[in-house]
């Protein structure tokens, strides 16, 4: 895939919001790319900057007084330099989005059909009846039974899963090349989540669009993503292929995430290893490596030196921002894989204990 030109390339993006308590560094210099027809998963907890970075790519943080720097190249064009009008022509047309909560993203007083035709007519000069035909076709495409009847219903007449299908239909109205899906299934039950994920995969195959899926759920990205970027405190701390991220993760934060979720396919009595502490403030992020206050493997100088996102030796597509040596990281992950605690793993590789 690396031969193809990326559809979207985000370069050193920074987004800051001035607030009463100080400047919030929501996104602190991230770089990633998305290739046509592929899926990038962005994983992180609340406050990691995963949503803000995508809203910025869609031009939706401008009005909130955000200070934005860096470049967001979509098919070679820097979206940050576009006027609000040109941005509006792209948003909902070439780039579309699906939000977490389908109930608050649909207007409760308008029929679903009207909201869909609006999405079509915002970008295409078509008649109302043609737009309505398109709306019915879209509802059918996302698997809503009886689309020509449902088109005249209101959002409250749809269940949660059906509403999310409507949101996806709306996003697909103009056959976008790129779809941002921000926690698209978090508000849904597991069986409905499975339906929506299967739907997104099918539509991606049929329409060839690229997807950026933003979620905190490692299971969802494992199912959906080709590449994954892990965000922490406004930065990408690790990025690689989905297969590699789960098989040989190299960042201690990624280990923490993987070890802190119970899994259906693991031994039941396996203890969870929580990440100590809490996510940091984005107004005064920790010095040096942002993760060092919570990292069991942090060494004294990690609070001074800020790690860059660098390729792992012999793995040009696997980037990690960690100050530990790569072979130390690999040995630590081996030890964790054997069921050792972080403290035991430290002893196992002969590192001094964490400097906390």
């Amino acid at each position: 895939m690396s031969a193809a030109e990326p559809l979207l390339r985000v370069e050193d993006l920074r987004v800051e919001f001035p607030s009463e308590d100080g400047v919030v560094h929501a996104v602190d210099g991230i770089t990633y790319q998305v290739f046509p027809g592929r899926t990038l998963g962005i994983v992180g907890e609340s406050g990691s900057g995963k949503t803000v970075s995508s809203l910025t790519a869609l031009g939706l943080t401008r009005r909130q007084g955000a200070r934005i720097s860096g470049r967001i190249l979509f098919e070679g064009q820097d979206l940050l330099t576009l006027s609000e009008d040109s941005m509006r022509a792209i948003r909902g047309n070439d780039i579309a989005m699906v939000f977490q909560d389908p109930l608050s993203s649909l207007h409760p007083l308008y029929k679903v059909g009207r909201q869909l035709t609006e999405a079509v007519r915002a970008h295409r000069d078509v008649s109302k009846s043609a737009a309505r035909e398109r709306a019915i076709e879209l509802l059918g495409l996302v698997g809503i039974p009886d689309p020509s009847g449902r088109v005249d219903q209101y959002p409250h007449e749809f269940s949660g899963g059906m509403r999310q299908r409507v949101m996806i239909a709306m996003a697909l109205a103009n056959e976008p090349k790129l779809l941002f899906a921000d926690e698209p299934t978090t508000a849904l039950d597991v069986t409905v989540q499975a339906q929506i994920l299967a739907l997104m995969e099918r539509l991606q195959r049929e329409l060839g669009m690229a997807i950026v899926i933003i979620t905190h759920d490692l299971g969802v990205v494992a199912e959906m993503a080709d590449e994954i970027a892990v965000m922490y405190a406004g930065r990408i701390v690790e990025t690689t292929s989905a297969a590699r991220l789960f098989a040989s993760p190299e960042h201690p934060y990624t280990w923490g995430l993987l070890k802190s979720i119970p899994r259906l396919d693991s031994l039941r009595d396996e203890d969870l290893v929580p990440i100590p502490g809490t996510p940091p403030s984005l107004i005064n992020p920790p010095s040096g490596c942002h993760f060092h206050p919570r990292c069991p493997y942090a060494q004294p100088d990690h609070s001074r030196i800020d790690p860059a996102l660098e390729p792992v030796p012999d793995e040009p597509t696997h980037h990690v921002a960690c100050l530990l040596e790569s072979d130390v990281r690999r040995r630590l992950w081996e030890q964790l894989g054997e069921g050792k605690t972080p403290e035991q793993a430290l002893v196992g590789v002969g590192l001094p204990g964490a400097a906390t």
């Binding site: 907890e45 609340s46 299967a198 494992a222 923490g256 119970p262 259906l264 996510p279």
Partner: protein, 343 residues
């Protein structure tokens, strides 16, 4: 399953809760009922963690509220050590309330922002008129704070000074204050970040072992329930469709709904992401007008004519769980569904 020989702590029998649907503002007429819980029976054994799983609207939280007596049951009984919780009044109800405590889902809205942590955790003592001597009460509160991993010196701080995970610890400390016989945890980690969830789950598991607590653990996350619980009840539209020991239920689910739920859980391992899954189609029907016969028959891939006419009873089908199904899954079908916890 530590105390299987003794009497169960509580027996729930044919528990029903219908919420009336009314029309009219001044003169209200009852035009129907949401059958939130519709005939549920199970035991709560001493010292066990009993999980109740199911999707939105299956009645799991309503069941919890009925056990807490936060709702009045329409019919049925909850025998708690010889007392029927659904019918007690006055002083005896207050006594029962001491024995059953709850941990809530949202640690942000379940703590009074204007009260200090110390007074929040001491609230149960105040309500029940215990430990009236101030120094004694403070010592007990600080002991509780230590038990749940909070710094006792933070006694005079306010909830906003704590993170989500720490707030949930405060909620746990408050629930433990009266040394209850039964703890009900309703989605205790679903509002927390992934890294924090594990802290709270480990705390609950540790407390359960150390203090021999009996916990009813309600959650929609099947992986979390598997991690935490000894026995699991799966609910669908107000009924229990399958009930059994954790290992049996997860390794050999018999009810097609249990199988579908387990197959739908995304697993954090792309190498297991092999054959394309066939998600359950359709939505959960309205509990105001549930399907006839087996309530799952409208979505069940194995449904036969019998299923739409006859409601199956919850019974032992020889694999360790109780299952309410006319045509339970066999091992091949479970494997074909892609259930990741299957043996």
């Amino acid at each position: 399953m530590s105390a299987a020989a003794s009497e169960p702590l509580a027996r729930v029998r044919d528990l029903v809760k219908h919420f009336p649907i009314t029309r009219g503002i001044v003169i209200q007429r009852k035009i129907g009922a949401v059958r939130a819980v519709d005939g549920v029976s199970f035991d709560i054994e001493r010292g066990e963690t009993l999980g109740i799983v199911g999707e939105t609207g299956c009645g799991k939280s309503t069941t919890a509220k009925l056990i807490m007596r936060l709702l009045e049951a329409t019919s049925g009984e909850i025998d708690f050590e010889g007392t029927d919780i659904t019918r007690v009044k006055g002083a005896r109800l207050k006594a029962i309330r001491r024995e059953v405590q709850m941990i809530f889902q949202d640690p942000y809205s379940s703590l009074n922002p204007r009260k200090t942590i110390g007074s929040i955790i001491a609230e149960p003592f105040a309500i029940h008129g215990l430990l009236r001597e101030k120094g004694e009460r403070k010592r007990e509160v600080q002991r509780l704070m230590e038990t749940v991993g909070l710094n006792p010196e933070h006694y005079n701080r306010y909830p906003h000074e704590f993170s989500g995970g720490q707030r949930q610890r405060i909620g746990v400390a408050r629930a433990l204050a009266l040394n209850p016989k039964l703890l009900i945890a309703d989605e205790p980690v679903s509002a927390l970040d992934v890294s924090i969830q594990a802290q709270v789950l480990n705390l609950l598991r540790d407390l359960q072992r150390r203090l021999g607590l009996t916990i009813v653990f309600i959650a929609h996350d099947l992986s979390v329930v598997r991690h935490m619980c000894d026995r699991v009840a799966v609910m669908y539209l107000g009924k229990i469709v399958e009930l059994g020991p954790n290992d049996a239920l997860y390794s050999f689910p018999r009810h097609p709904y249990t199988g579908a739920l387990l197959a739908a859980v995304p697993v954090a391992d792309p190498s297991l992401h092999g054959s394309e899954r066939r998600p359950l189609s359709g939505d959960v029907p309205s509990p105001a007008n549930p399907p006839s016969g087996c309530r799952f028959h409208t979505r069940c891939p194995k449904a036969q004519p019998l299923c739409s006419t006859q409601d199956p009873v919850l019974e032992d089908k020889g694999s360790g769980t109780m299952v309410a199904c006319h045509y339970p899954l066999d091992q091949e079908e479970v494997a074909a569904m892609g259930v990741r916890s299957a043996r």
